[in-house]
């Protein structure tokens, strides 16, 4: 009976050989994780029953079995986190499966050069995520009160007859809303470029809707940064400083990490 190979991540063989893998339960909660050295790279995997974890079955469960998905996604995340604490790791996406050890080896060998470059890039660095939130009301007030053009327009409107005022106010609201958006982008971009100075690389991710975040404030920025370990403290201090300085104006910051280098390594 064929066994599938579930790939969690790749480490460098030298590092993996010096630190044996502790016992970690695999994806099916029965087998243990083990390593497969492939030249300079070592794959960290577990094996799965080919029938039970066939592609269409997994697809179906991902789409229809929330509980299963939650449990397994959590398992994947936890395991990759543990591995990333032990080794410099190229983390793999949830449910990366190979038909057998040979196909895994072939895939790793094919990408070896790229993977070695990635290791050179991420070694000694940590991935951190920074989310910036902004409470609209406060900033809106500031934008509309400190903007001379808007102020002048408002004075002009108050002289108009009631009915006309309505339309002009609506127009002005639109202007304020777009000014607000612009201001939020400007501030976030400025912070991002400042934070990127600490980083080897800073990337911008899509912001999440409030349905996902469960917060009232809108997420205005979602950035990931690959930072040299020696600079992480300064990076976090800078964020704390922003937090302190900008809290009054309705801005909030959420830094999290270190994460496995999901955003700075791709294996394909």
């Amino acid at each position: 009976m064929d066994r599938l190979i579930y790939l969690y991540g790749l480490a460098q063989t030298e590092e993996a050989a010096s630190q044996p893998l502790p016992p970690l339960k695999g994806f099916d909660d029965t087998g243990d994780l083990y390593t497969v050295p492939i030249g300079k790279l070592t794959a960290i995997v577990c094996s799965l029953d080919a029938k039970e974890y066939a592609e269409e079955i997994i697809k179906d469960r991902i789409n229809n079995d929330m509980e299963w998905l939650q449990e397994k996604a959590f398992h994947h995340h936890e395991t990759v986190m543990k591995l990333a604490k032990m080794y410099t790791l190229i983390p793999l996406k949830f449910c990366t499966l190979y038909k057998n050890e040979d196909s895994l080896k072939a895939a790793v060998q094919l990408n070896e050069g790229k993977m070695l470059d990635t290791f050179a890039f991420i070694t000694g660095n940590e991935e951190w995520n920074v989310k910036i939130y902004c409470e609209d009301e406060q900033l809106k007030k500031e934008v509309s009160e400190n903007n001379p053009t808007i102020e002048a327009k408002r004075a002009e409107i108050s002289q108009l007859p009631r009915g006309k005022q309505f339309f002009e106010k609506k127009k002005l609201d639109k202007v304020i809303a777009s000014e607000l958006q612009e201001e939020k982008n400007k501030v976030s971009e400025h912070i991002h470029s400042r934070l990127s100075e600490f980083a080897v690389r800073g990337n911008v991710k899509r912001t999440w809707s409030s349905e996902v975040t469960g917060r009232q404030e809108e997420m205005t920025w979602n950035g990931v940064y690959l930072i040299s370990k020696s600079k992480v403290e300064d990076f976090l201090k800078q964020i704390q400083q922003y937090e302190k300085d900008m809290k009054e104006k309705g801005w909030q910051f959420q830094a999290s990490g270190p994460w496995p280098a999901y955003h700075f390594s791709s294996f394909s």
Partner: protein, 94 residues
Amino acid sequence: MQPASQTNGKINLDPDNAEHGLAQLVLTVIELLRQIVERHAIRRVEGGTLTDEQIEDLGEALMNLEEKMEELKEIFGLDADDLNIDLGPLGSLL
């Protein structure tokens, strides 16, 4: 009356509280229509084909409508988010 804010963009039609759910549903529809009318009116005004008097009448009517809507929301303990139904994959109504 219970505030509807815990409904999270979903209409709450539980049997013991049906009238409140119904009020929310009706107001949601009215609010949608009101906004459509308003947008249409703004386009007409910007189109420049209306006389000053017509603009004035239209503006006043819409303003009154908006105020009335605020009052109704107040009466039924609803806020703007409660009238913005979650249409699932289509996003929010308003």
